[in-house]
């Protein structure tokens, strides 16, 4: 089967080798603020967001990106929901690799954005979650493709940009999935040092590979820790400093989403988002109130109930992940 989707985010490994060769491997401080970090995102960039849709996404960064009125990006809509729905709400991108879009999983789907995707304003290339993961892995390995056994025989294959190859040992047919080297990746982590060494607790989704695959990596972190946190227990190092270009401290930076072991998602606020997204006007009001009219992420957090609400979500998280049951 020939695929007809546009190949996005692909580079020749030799071109990437030259790029990675020039990238500094010195341990220098990369601490910066959200505005500076957002300025690393350039017109036309392919952007990848870490986490899993409503889990460990860099909400604070995305809000700032919307306030900066970034446009014409290409987005990876991989296991995505709140992350790329916000990006779509800001009309920041007009092309995307899509393996999962729009829906907040068990909570429902924001109608206004569903319509936006249905309007044809965004040109999509189709994939599955597994294949998007493997595309990052191919890049993280320094390759141009990986052979896999998924997506074959379907319209998902047809509307993708994958090709078929034959195994030289068995004659088996494989789907060759093209490497995905994003221009910029934004990943929210539990802790980082000033150099960019980063710790993620709980599911990793594709973030280890995304950090290796991307030209620029922006880390937003719940907190800064000394480098000894990594050197004393190298198991803590999920992402290495030399992959990272910017480190921004954004406490509660994944709210209203779930930061495992720290705070649970704010289901009420996500439902408020979904309700606002029932029509254009109320959705614009939601965006104005919570993003465009906020000077920074703290104002948004205050809008949503401030420290009292956050402490409630921390308690809820403790019930779920430590106590193993809701009180």
């Amino acid at each position: 089967m020939e695929s007809i989707g546009e190949l996005l985010g692909f580079h020749h490994p030799d071109e990437m080798r030259e790029f990675f060769r020039k990238k500094s491997k010195k341990m220098t401080s990369k601490l910066t603020d959200l505005k500076q970090a957002v300025s690393l995102v350039k017109e036309g960039d392919y952007i990848s967001i870490g986490g899993f849709g409503t889990v460990r996404i860099p909400t604070a960064f995305i809000h700032e990106l919307l306030r900066a009125k970034k446009k014409n990006l290409i987005a990876a809509c991989f296991t995505s929901n709140v992350d790329t729905d916000l990006l779509a709400a800001g009309k920041t991108f007009n092309k995307a690799d899509a393996s999962y879009i729009i829906s907040f999983e068990a909570l429902g789907a924001p109608k206004v954005l569903k319509k936006y995707f249905e309007s044809g304003s965004i040109q999509l290339t189709e994939w599955s979650n597994g294949v998007m993961g493997w595309r990052y892995k191919a890049a993280a390995m320094g390759l141009s493709y990986l052979p896999v056994r998924s997506m074959l025989g379907t319209d998902t294959q047809k509307y993708s940009a994958a090709k078929e190859v034959t195994c030289p040992f068995t004659g088996m047919k494989y789907l060759a999935v093209p490497a995905l080297y994003p221009d910029v990746a934004v990943i929210h982590v539990h802790a980082a040092d000033i150099y960019g060494n980063s710790y993620i607790r709980g599911v990793l989704v594709a973030d280890v590979d995304i950090a290796k695959a991307s030209k620029k990596v922006i880390i937003t972190t719940e907190k800064i820790v000394p480098t000894e946190f990594f050197r004393d227990n190298p198991q803590n190092t999920t992402i290495l400093f030399y992959q990272v270009d910017a480190v921004v401290v954004t406490p509660y930076g994944s709210y209203p989403c779930n930061m495992p072991y720290e705070y649970f998602m704010d289901v009420d606020h996500l439902r408020e988002f979904l309700k606002a997204a029932e029509d254009e006007k109320t959705f614009q009001e939601y965006l104005d109130k919570n993003i465009y009219n906020c000077n920074d992420f703290y104002e948004y957090l205050d809008n949503c109930g401030g420290i009292r609400r956050l402490e409630y979500l921390k308690d809820l998280e403790s019930q779920i992940i430590i106590e193993g049951g809701l009180r």
Binding site: M1, G51, F52, G53, T54, V55, R56, T79, N81, S99, Y100, I101, I102, S103, E105, A106, L107, K114, F117, E118, G120, E126, W127, S128, N129, G130, G133, W134, K137, V148, R149, S150, M151, L152, G153, T154, D155, T156, Y159, E164, Y174, G202, V203, L204, V205, A206, V208, D209, N258, P260, Y261, F264, M265, Q319, I320, I321, E323, G324, G325, L326
Partner: protein
């Protein structure tokens, strides 16, 4: 007789299909409730995995996202999406659990668009992990409400492979042999697939449902080899555990079956 709603019925029936020790890749909602119920009643050693990376958690509540903290409570591992997909690719996952907007008689599933791809009437989330699961897990189980719009002769987009165009088509496409759709559980019936034609076949009818009810809600010809069995209705114990232990907050069982 016990009273129960359609969702409770589907969950209870679905919970019975697993052997103890089976491995399963799970999504949120009905599939997860079914697996949790199975674990408590029929398959205490069932191995549960989630595509965001969690392996073998002790679920304290119904997940809202397949990557949320409920899937990590007392998990044996919290790895990556590729870890999970490669586990399936290696042949380690017996069952996957899917829904979908449209299904055809070969069990192919559409969760991408209704209408023309480029300017669709309705856009759905797309594959997510469904295509990977259905390509590489051994058995595909679907749990969906039964309607003539959903069970249709020609789906608008094959997001996820069933038996594609029939016998041998999966293998020819390059998918691993001996895989494919296994059971479809709806609010009306349980269906399997005919060994020879790989087309959907009625297996058992839920209590109070007639063959005509099923035909009227199915947009293609369902294979009916003999008088189908009656589905065993949800037992009192199934319902009690489902309501009290699996979904005490009624997150799933009081949703409307769309």
């Amino acid at each position: 007789m016990n009273t129960y709603n359609d969702i409770e019925l589907m969950i209870c029936v679905a919970s019975r299909i697993f052997e103890d020790g089976a491995s399963v890749s799970v999504g949120t909602g009905i599939p997860c409730a079914a697996v949790m119920l199975a674990q408590k009643l029929y398959a205490p050693n069932i191995l549960i995995t989630f595509e965001a990376g969690a392996v073998a958690p002790v679920l304290p509540a119904m997940p809202i996202s397949v990557g949320d903290s409920t899937t990590m409570h007392k998990a044996l591992q919290t790895g990556s999406t590729c870890d999970q997909m490669e586990m399936i690719q290696r042949g380690l996952i017996d069952y996957c659990f899917l829904g979908g907007a449209q299904i055809d008689s070969y069990g192919n599933i559409n969760s991408t668009v209704i209408g023309d791809y480029k300017k669709p009437k309705v856009r759905f989330p797309g594959s997510g992990g469904a295509n990977d699961f259905a390509s590489m897990a051994w058995r595909i189980v679907m749990v969906v409400p039964h309607s003539i719009r959903r069970f249709t002769n020609k789906i608008d987009f094959i997001t996820t492979p069933g038996y594609l165009t029939g016998p041998g088509a999966r293998e020819q496409a390059g998918l691993p042999p001996n895989t494919g759709p296994y059971k479809i559980i709806t609010n009306l019936a349980v269906m399997g697939f005919d060994e020879e034609t790989k087309r959907m076949m009625l297996e058992s009818i839920h209590p109070g449902v007639s063959i005509d009810d099923i035909k009227n809600n199915t947009g293609f010809e369902l294979i009916i080899k003999q008088t189908p069995k009656q589905t065993e209705p949800p037992t009192q114990e199934e319902l009690r555990i489902l309501r009290e232990e699996v979904d005490p907050f009624k997150a799933v069982i009081e949703r409307k079956a769309e």
